[in-house]
């Protein structure tokens, strides 16, 4: 689980480096699966894909299916989001 305390004081140099990192991340399609909230449930989606594999009623079920897909070689990292779309957990899957 990612820690939740706060302490933000970004220097100009940090901001520039964060922007550079973001530009690189935007261009890279990682071998990641995302579990994301949808209006009527939770979806499992490959990074960069415009369409989700499937939408599930519960987050638990979506996470389980993401693990199954990862076991089948469809991804190696599962990025789990919260109801607002923010990152809540990252799972590395070992095959």
């Amino acid at each position: 689980m990612i820690k939740e305390s706060t302490s933000l004081c970004t220097s100009t140099k940090d901001r520039r480096l964060i922007s550079k990192g973001l530009r690189e991340a935007a261009k890279t399609q990682g071998d990641n699966l995302h579990v994301i909230p949808r209006v009527h449930g939770w979806a499992v989606k490959k990074e960069g894909a415009k369409v989700a594999y499937r939408v599930y009623r519960s987050k638990e079920r979506a996470v389980k299916e993401a693990k199954n897909l990862a076991q089948k070689g469809k991804g190696s990292i599962i990025i789990i989001h919260d109801a607002d779309g923010r990152l809540s957990r990252i799972n590395q899957v070992s095959r």
Binding site: E4, S5, T6, T10, I18, G21, I79, H81, G85
Partner: protein, 205 residues
């Protein structure tokens, strides 16, 4: 950014609303609009003068009326948002082609609640994003409005939302690389957040 590509966002600026403000800003930028928030501009001018100048500089505006009721006992309702909507409607009726072409979207958590507290708007149509404050529904409301008013070939709301969550993950991971924490994304200033969105969206291509 020109008048035609700017959108004024009239909404609460508290921490609780950031969960909606961030996807709202991302959606506007993703669809080619420069968001303008009154908090970001000249503090040397009076707030109202700032708002009028901003409204005049934007063809598009989004007004969120969700705080027109108080959420707990002894809390005052907020009237800034409906007031700024009224100013916007007034500006739209100024003589001149450019201001007459202004387009505005009014949003709330419920579709017809405004008829009770702001009955002058009756007959108009407002968009709702639901009581559960779901970011994807808000993105859909904005995307559908811009499909009708700006460009009929916009990406689907689900696609914009998928891009938003990937951006958020990338931003949080970048911030964490610099020692920041999960909640620090909420503590970014709006101008920092807008700048990071622009960097990510432009690189996405």
């Amino acid at each position: 950014m020109s008048f035609d590509d700017s959108v004024f966002i009239n909404c609460p600026f508290d921490r609780k609303y950031k969960r909606l403000l961030h996807p709202l800003i991302f959606c506007c930028l993703y669809l080619g609009l420069e968001p303008k928030l009154s908090l970001l501009y000249d503090s040397g001018k009076s707030r109202l003068k700032n708002i009028i100048d901003l409204l005049k500089s934007c063809k598009y505006s989004i007004h969120d009326l969700s705080r027109m009721t108080s959420s707990k006992p002894h809390e005052f309702a907020r009237f800034n948002m409906p007031f700024e909507l009224g100013v916007d409607i007034g500006i739209k009726s100024y003589p001149g082609d450019e201001l007459a072409s202004k387009k505005c979207l009014v949003i709330d958590t419920e579709k017809y609640r405004y008829r009770i507290s702001l009955s002058d708007l009756s007959g108009g149509d407002i968009a709702s994003y639901g009581k559960r404050n779901q970011p994807e529904k808000l993105i859909k409301a904005v995307r559908d409005w811009l499909t009708n008013t700006k460009n009929p070939t916009q990406p689907a709301a689900s696609e914009i939302f998928s891009e938003y969550v990937e951006f958020v993950a990338d931003l949080q991971l970048q911030l964490m690389n610099f020692g920041y924490t999960r909640n620090d994304i909420s503590n970014l200033t709006d101008s920092e957040y807008i700048n990071y969105c622009k960097n990510w969206i432009s690189a996405r291509g």
